[in-house]
Amino acid sequence: MMMKSKADEEDYWNSSKFKAFAFDDADDDLSKLKESKMAVSSIGPLIDEEEEEWERVSWSGEPVGSISWSVKEMAASNQRADREPAFPKISTETPSLNKSQSGLSLSSLFKGKGRGGNLQSFSDMLGDSALRLYTPELRKPKSEYKDLLSDWTPEETVKRLQQGKAVSLEKFRSLQDKLLLLDLAVAAHDGNAITAVLIFLKRTLCKEVLFREMESRQTALRHLIHLLTETREQRLLLELLRALGRTEEAALLQYKEHKNITDENKRRDFLKSCLSLQFAAEDLAHIQDHYTLLERQIIIEAADRKAEREGKVEIFQKCPRKASILNMPLITTLYYCCFYHYNEPEGTFSSPGNVRQTFKISEKQYFTTALAARAKLKNWSDVDALFSSRNWLGFAKKKSPLSFQRVVDILQKNSAPTHVLQEYVALVQDAELRITLAQKHKCHDIVINTYRDMKDRHLLAEYRKKVERGSAEERKIEELLSNPMAPLSSSEPSWFCCSSQTLGGGGGGSTPQPADDASDVTQAFVGSSSFILLFQSSARTEADLQQRLRRETTDTCEKARSSCYMYGRRAQAAGGDEEEAEEERIKAAGSDLLIGPPASP
């Protein structure tokens, strides 16, 4: 340290030569370094550097770049003049169509020497990787002779940072040096190195200067924001965003804090305080809604909890609440109100009408939610009223802002009985869709009537096989078929074609299913351009599989039964209980389908 060895001196000259090059050779790629110089000397308005880089830096056929180029230079001048870089450097910033087409031939690195035992040799390499990862030209002279880490040049320092080695940044004291270091790290595209320099800058520069310099360095800025997010230095991050005029981001960041507040009253107050932040106009309306909603939920929750405890309100006894309504989305809240507070006068906070008005919920949305809630309660007269109340032309026809197909879907998911479903299936306009739905939900009358209207004898005859023996439906079909009315045509039912194929069939003892049973599962899966082959129970060849499935069916049926009347947890986000009920239904249906006719014992 006191006496510099000769090697050390050589080293000194080496790096100085390197430095001289870096600053004097005006090269495109070096412009970044110049910029950092400019940035410190000029206080004028700063241009967006990143934009500049895209424009100015061009892909160069020559492997010229600030750091790696210089390292290569030294390599060439040191011990390995014979070695050329294997692959060309490409600019990481600018696309250049013409040049990137041409591959460059530069290498002599790829000389085939024959491959050594690869496992062994690579393990060796890993073993002392710490050494081997050095660039040779940096490694030997420096690591052996240098006493102080602080003797590294900015370029070498960044290189070491990239390699994950110890560095000392303390010697970079002038702003110019600090920024040079930062720009070199950015030029190396190494996030770890960039962050390392930023941590150093954050420690050694006052906020004002740090923030000012970030403005023209977008890449570094994003790293700083991410660092502060991860270290949870919320206050500093907010200051940074505000200093840069990114007020919307700052507002959102502050708003995000509400998630950390568990007490609902404190959370509500916090949301209220957010209203004064500088959100985009459109977002502010949402924050307002968020606040109003929570405020209201607190009121409803308090009242309902009390009502439930006192046991005076029937609905809470019949369908006890599974969870508190606090912090649920608006639509869940509306559903809750439609479920528990449907007939309240509009003046109360919990009446659905009031919620609808306060939050300007669309007619369709309101309708959908109310329908689901009343169907869940199996209150079919309320369901009915939803349709007819909006018909002022003499109640002649049911109207719905939702397609009737969707209506049927919602009702069915809430286990509506056939006679209710039938009423709405009949209102589906499209004949083909109506038949599909009718078959799916076993509304035989509709199917039969539609076929009758289509005058399709063949389809009717086919359908006879699917209705119960000796049922009223069968009789009706017989009647129609024996009636020598206008000739019934006999076209092929097109929507069955996918399911008519019989698969499998070894010695399992089961017989193929009637096609239509499977078709609801299958058809739902038919892709736009292909039919799916039907998978049937006969593919299962083992008797034990059958047994297993039979057990499953019994189980699920029981489960389905017991879960019928409950107000399931309509959990946040996901479709909640509606889906659960459906799950059960499909389980039962699916297993049915797979079991086949009673197997021989």
């Binding site: 790696s68 390292v71 294997a86 692959f87 490409i90 696309p95 591959g103 460059l104 031939s105 530069l106 290498s107 002599s108 690195l109 790829f110 085939g112 020497k113 024959g114 491959r115 690869n118 496992l119 040799s121 890993l126 073993g127 081997r132 660039t135 940072l161 595209h189 190494d190 770890n192 962050t195 941590i199 994003r222 660092l227 991860e230 270290t231 708003y255 459109e282 939050f359 369709k364 499998g504 070894g506 599962v521 739902a524 899966f525 892709g527 736009s528 292909s530 082959l533 039907l534 998978f535 593919a539 060849t541 946040q572 986000a573 996901a574 479709g575 509606e578 499909i586 699916g590 797979l594």
Partner: protein, 617 residues
Amino acid sequence: MAHGGRKDSPELPDLSLLKRLVRDQLIYLLEQLPGKKDLFIDSDLMSPLDRIANVSILKQHEVDKLYKVEFKPIISISDQLCFLIRPRIQTVKWICDVVNADKAAGKYRRYKIIFTPQKFYACEAVLEEQGIYGDVTTDEWAFYLLPLDDDIISLELPEFFRDQFLAGDQRWVRTAGSALHLLYSLFGPFSKIYGIGRCSKMTYESWREQVEEGEQRARQAEIGNVFLIDRDVDFVTPLCSQVVYEGLVDDTFRIKCGCVEFGPDVTSSDKSIKVMLNSQDKVFNEIRNEHFSNVFGFLSQKARNLQTAYDKRRGMDIKQMKTFVSEELKGLKQEHRLLTLHISASESIMKKKTKQDFQELLKTEHCLLEGFEIRECISFMEEHINRQVSMIESLRLLCLLSVTENGLLPKDYRALKAQYLQSYGDEHLLTFSNLRQLGLLVEQQPGETLTVMESRVGKLVNDRTAGKLTDAFSSLAKKSNFRALSRKLNLVPKSDEEYDLRVPKDMAYIFSGAYIPLSCKLIEQVLERDGWIGLEEVTRLINGHEFAVTAGGSGADSKSKGDSQRIILVMFLGGCTFSEISALRFLGKEKGYKFIIVTTAITNSSRLLEAMLDNHV
């Protein structure tokens, strides 16, 4: 797969070498802390660790107890603690708390942190700030690459995507470069490298520097070519529903580290089972790349064959039966077990998909891809949102609409956003802000000329018609990059043609013949053209950063004729989906290539979008 394709595909290199290397290195690191020690493992490192080591190996190296990092005070009584973690500030802070709590209690222990795959300065800075730098020794375990299968390697870094593309933090660039360098050292030298995307370029640069820093050992190349691609080059593909078996299993059950957990609905018992899904599973291997519609036929055929094989024993005498039991029965039982499993899984998938109106969902997706009946698609999405069907699914459709249409019309954007917030909670404001930043869900900027036109026409007609006209004009005027790309590259096959999924004619089969994944199409084109020549318009639409470089010199081209030239390493930066892997396998068979897929993580639409939620603060 039922189609022809070339039979002369080259052999893949043995990737299990990677596992042996990291296992040895882990053992070496554990030996650096001699004596009994308790090991704390980051929860998301557990599965990867499982793939390369097991408890007995750890025990052999004096690991006493194993714990998962849970950010709670620890209960260990060991005097040596070892932490095996990802380099995350939160985890390091927790370790600092542990050490400081020990100090306060006057407890003396030795601590070691092993960061994998590398350490970050920010983590060490935390150690320093918390005053425990020096009390804790640190190490790095260069566990960059985990082979998930014969042709899939994962970095198991799901956070790569969010860090790189949303936060703009380039911390993993070096990691990706090092991973590539490791493959280069083991299976290189590479002769050609193609790439597209900003991160790809940086990764290439990082790798190139490491090549120059290191020492070159020349040898016979096993992997000839490399293709690097950024995830943000193609967001459309990962947003589509997967319908190829492996992708569908991933979408439905979530494959984690090559392993899936089938719940009671599949196992038909009260417990779940974990199953490895890879080429070792003979049944799975035959159906993984198939369109789901073919899977049933295949499985039932298999079941029939199995039945026949079992039935053989009926007419057997004792001796034959003995041979049967000793030679065939075990294999048959194994096959039976696998078959049962995949049949049940398929059933379960069917049920789940039926429940969620999958057909309608697919129809909507296909319309979006074709740019057809967009209004109907939007009202389908609205209904989806209104009924509070899956929060992620709704978001996925919105994003797909945005990326295929180059953003939503301002009025649609506002209406859909408002409804979304009503249905799923106002805090999703943060999600929308993230998606906008990433460019996944944005508002269209109306062109000026358009506004002039509009107002002129608007004066002539009444309001309602004007609204309709606005729609019409906007859809004429907006230039969707995806549409243009789709036309240029023929990504959407003509819908009037029949598409036989059993005999696929191109990669579109992975999406029921409706769409050829952009990412894979680019790879196909570049390999075919040996570069980007003729694709200038395409790269301009993608926003460039494409490159194609050749390792020249005498060394490389002497072997450029060999098999290794037909082995192509495709590195996805930011994740790839199983569907893309299936598509590339198909392409490989067609053209006589073999692809090795390296990805920062396996992704799908749910993972992609979940990464955009702000669940943590």
